[in-house]
């Protein structure tokens, strides 16, 4: 076993720079694919290869992702005026800047080679890559061309996708991010400084300094309580406006009470306040939320793709004779445009076939696994894949008005909204705040009788401050952060932490069939040879189907080892719907309808069945063991769904076939606590409306957008691990809740006995936070062993 020289993936069948070099010692390789070899060659020609591979060896792989296969796209549309007006911006020096999302960014060497663009491409002024977002910002001058930049990037294995720059939105986002950082920084600096003076006061600073120190503390606390803590006030206000309570409400309450008390004490000359604890609390809270947000954004960014199809460009006819074509980006298509769709390309817009015959793969749109035969005059839908031959298509509706576009709009407008569940911490806050209010009222009257109004008010205020559920508020985001990063390391991107809680309570799992449980390709389940030997049949298959891209042909070719002799096939024909035929050595052979004929005599027959993903049955039985109800919902024919269900250990009652996207949505709506696992456009609405939507590896980007979670590695077993992860995460959160409530009870007791003081708070608050932090970072045994 060896690893590819370029991308470091394990190589099974190695690919060398040339066949003859394999034996000699100067051969270069191995490579995993032609793409990697090409990239290697380009880098070597430019004299960049030595550094590139050295950096690569030294640096840790940043993300396990192989380079994108080089395409033949010419990207000429990038230089058109219309495109540039929309996607690029010009500065006062007539330099143009564009942002590309790059596929295949995975390590330090990528950074190096992309930022080296100006040194080998004329006209490129600067090239900066953001590794986290996989976005390159490239500036060229008047002599440069974006098309040549894009071609170069494509050739070296980073397929570029131009991003639309929404300047006002991105500026607003940037400002917000900077403001958040300032909030954290100021809270941190202020709480550190306050601590210096607070400790001096606790240690018994002399009378002459008491008031000065107190004043300094208050001054430092002022920006923290106003500017830094602003998000808490805003969140509480929003929550109260909708007549609900979030965890920010008790926190804001403690901050406001603490502020009032601190200023009052300053005015009456008592050197006592809770600002040391409160500012540290604000700092830690902001920090823990910042961590959670940044890990979520990492996941979001990779789905926040501002393009619709996988970056393919299309050939548009530019003259009436349909002989000349120019490249066009799917976004720029107009009604009536005639475009050429090559085999394996996605159809970008609904349209009518005007020339050619082919097969279409509808599975991403309808879930049907069988291919659809199309010929001239027939209508095709966007999102389907052309399989066997080139066709010309006249666009009849724009991408955004097509069937697929409408599904996308529905998802973005959110008519299929999720049921919102109240998160645990918010539920707890509701009870918490009422109990604390009752307790402080009780304390008020209790002390009022014995020692007067002033001391009674003081003590009940103190109770409100010291019982702030800060430990819980800090630990919850950190526990989620930990689970999110654990899953991200193992190829699962969770977009929102709230789904972890929803997932842990799930009762029903809905699975899509095609692409989720079964592979998109089928396999040969039975091959009956009536006449001739296995080798002879193999040879016939390979010669007849040599150039065919029909899935059955590909399956057949994979079934027989490719070592057969090659013959001349005379009168070779391939007709959609009828199969292939031709003469070899004077005999007429036909492969049609799962049979092979020699001179009209049947010589072999075979059957195709859907290939079930390797870990599907195991994953499904594990899901059942976890107490979940597993159901299959599919757009494919009911018999096919039932047949597959029986193979993975499910009964006919557990599966439903022939469902439209809207009917899938109905299924989800009618059950509670659901998880939907799917991949196609027909699952998108269901993914969006389920409590948890999981898009599997290889899903369409429309599903990626609709889902809350997506898997970047193949296999259904990841779903099982994900559910275990959610359950274990919630265990940690419950444990933290218990710990933090225990500390709060201590504070309540101290407040009642009158033993509470700023010093006691300064000990209890950090101690409780520390305990829950430890508890979050330890996790549970199962959480630690989940991906070992």
């Amino acid at each position: 076993m060896s690893n590819c020289l370029h991308c470091d993936q394990e190589v099974l069948t190695s690919f060398f720079s040339s066949e003859s070099e394999r034996e000699t010692s100067i051969s270069i390789g191995p490579f995993c694919c032609k793409g990697c070899l090409t990239v290697y060659g380009i880098l070597k020609n430019k004299g960049l290869s030595h550094n590139y591979y050295q950096i690569k060896k030294d640096g840790q792989p940043f993300r396990s992702r192989a380079p994108a296969n080089p395409s033949t796209n010419q990207y000429t549309f990038l230089d058109s005026k219309d495109f540039q007006a929309e996607y690029t911006y010009l500065n006062h020096n007539k330099e143009r800047t564009i942002e590309f999302y790059l596929e295949g960014i995975h390590c330090l060497a990528c950074l190096w080679v992309i930022e080296k663009l100006p040194s080998f491409l004329p006209g490129v002024l600067s090239s900066k890559l953001n590794l986290g977002r996989s976005v390159a910002i490239i500036t060229i001058n008047e002599s440069g061309s974006f098309a040549s930049v894009a071609r170069e990037l494509d050739h070296i294995g980073y397929r570029p996708h131009p991003l639309k720059i929404n300047q006002s939105e991105s500026e607003y986002k940037l400002k917000e991010e900077r403001r958040n950082l300032l909030r954290i920084g100021i809270a941190g600096a202020a709480s550190g400084n306050i601590m210096l003076y607070a400790i001096s006061l606790y240690a018994g600073a002399g009378k002459e300094y008491e008031h000065l120190f107190n004043l300094i503390t208050v001054l430092f606390a002022l920006p923290v309580l106003t500017f830094s803590a602003y998000p808490f006030y805003k969140n509480s206000f929003n929550a109260l406006k909708t007549k609900s309570i979030s965890i920010d409400v008790p926190i804001s309450l403690a901050l406001i009470m603490g502020g009032i008390m601190g200023f009052y004490n300053l005015l009456i000359g008592v050197p006592e306040n809770y600002f040391d604890s409160l500012t540290a609390l604000v700092f830690l809270l902001l920090l823990s939320r910042y961590f959670l947000k940044s890990i979520q954004e990492k996941g979001l960014n990779s789905t926040d793709l501002n393009f619709f199809y996988s970056g393919e460009n299309y050939q548009k006819a530019i003259n009436l004779g349909l002989s000349e074509f120019s490249e066009i980006h799917p976004k720029q298509l107009n009604l009536g445009d005639i475009i050429k769709i090559s085999p394996e390309q996605m159809i970008p817009a609904d349209g009518t076939v005007i020339r050619g015959q082919s097969y279409l793969n509808n599975s991403l749109i309808t879930g049907e696994s069988e291919l659809q035969k199309i010929s001239e005059g027939e209508n095709v839908f966007s999102g389907t894949q052309n399989i066997s031959r080139e066709i010309l298509l006249k666009v009849t509706s724009l991408p955004k008005e097509s069937r697929l576009g409408k599904i996308l709009q529905n998802i973005e407008n959110g008519w299929s909204h999720k049921s919102n569940i109240v998160s645990l911490s918010n539920t707890v806050s509701k009870y918490f705040i009422s109990i604390v209010f009752l307790l402080s009222l009780f304390l008020l009257f209790f002390v009022l009788k014995s020692s007067g109004l002033k001391s009674a008010l003081e003590r009940s205020l103190t109770l409100l401050i010291v019982t702030c559920p800060c430990a819980l508020a800090i630990a919850t985001p950190l526990t989620f952060t930990r689970s999110l990063s654990l899953s991200a390391q193992n190829g699962i991107i969770i977009k929102d932490d709230a789904v972890i809680e929803k997932m842990s309570k799930a009762k029903t799992v809905f699975l899509d069939k095609t692409g989720t449980i079964s592979e998109r390709e089928s396999e040969i389940s039975e091959f009956k040879i009536i006449k001739k030997s296995h080798i002879e049949i193999g040879s016939i298959v390979h010669n007849l189907e040599k150039n065919s891209r029909h899935p059955v042909a590909i399956t057949l070719k994979n079934y027989f080892p490719n070592d057969s002799q090659s013959f001349d096939v005379i009168d070779h024909k391939e007709t959609p719907g009828k199969g292939v035929s031709g003469f070899i050595n004077g005999h007429h052979y036909v492969i049609s309808k799962y049979s092979i004929y020699e001179n009209d005599e049947l010589i072999a027959q075979f059957k195709l069945t859907e290939k079930i993903k390797k870990d599907a049955s195991q994953a499904i039985s594990k899901l059942k063991n976890l107490g979940l109800d597993v159901k299959i919902i599919s757009g494919d024919k009911t018999e096919k769904v039932q047949f597959l269900a029986s193979n993975v250990g499910l009964t006919n009652n557990d599966c439903l076939g022939e469902l439209s996207p809207e009917m899938k949505w109905d299924q989800i709506k009618n059950s509670s606590s659901t998880i939907m696992v799917g991949d196609g456009a027909n699952d998108a609405i269901a993914l969006k409306s389920a409590d948890t939507g999981i898009a599997v590896y290889g899903a369409m980007d429309i599903s990626l957008r609709a889902a809350d979670i997506y898997l970047t590695t193949p296999g259904l077993f990841q779903v099982v691990k994900l559910i275990v992860l959610s359950k274990e995460t919630m265990k940690v959160i419950y444990r933290n809740l218990f710990l933090s409530l225990a500390y709060n009870s201590v504070s309540v007791i101290l407040a009642f006995t009158g033993a509470i003081s700023p010093l006691a708070a300064a000990v209890i608050m950090p101690l409780s936070s520390l305990t829950v932090l430890l508890s979050s970072s330890i996790g549970t045994k199962e959480l630690r062993g989940l991906w070992k």
Partner: protein, 64 residues
């Protein structure tokens, strides 16, 4: 104990100086991308670099 009348203002000035510096750096965009610069600094400038476009002044104001 007189020394403290000197030390406290000094501590405060230092604190304000660093807070001010932090605000300035954040507003200048020093912390906009927290990931890439850490990797970028590991790359050595090598002699193979022949920038074809040397006249380009790096980032310009208002280019955000």
């Amino acid at each position: 104990m007189e020394i403290i009348t000197f030390l406290i203002p000094l501590a405060l000035i230092l604190a304000l100086f660093f807070i001010g510096g932090f605000i300035w750096m954040t507003m200048k965009g020093q912390y906009d991308d927290l990931e890439t610069p850490g990797h970028r600094m590991l790359l050595d400038e090598t002699k193979t670099e022949t920038n074809l476009n040397k006249n380009f002044n790096q980032t310009q104001k208002g280019d955000l």
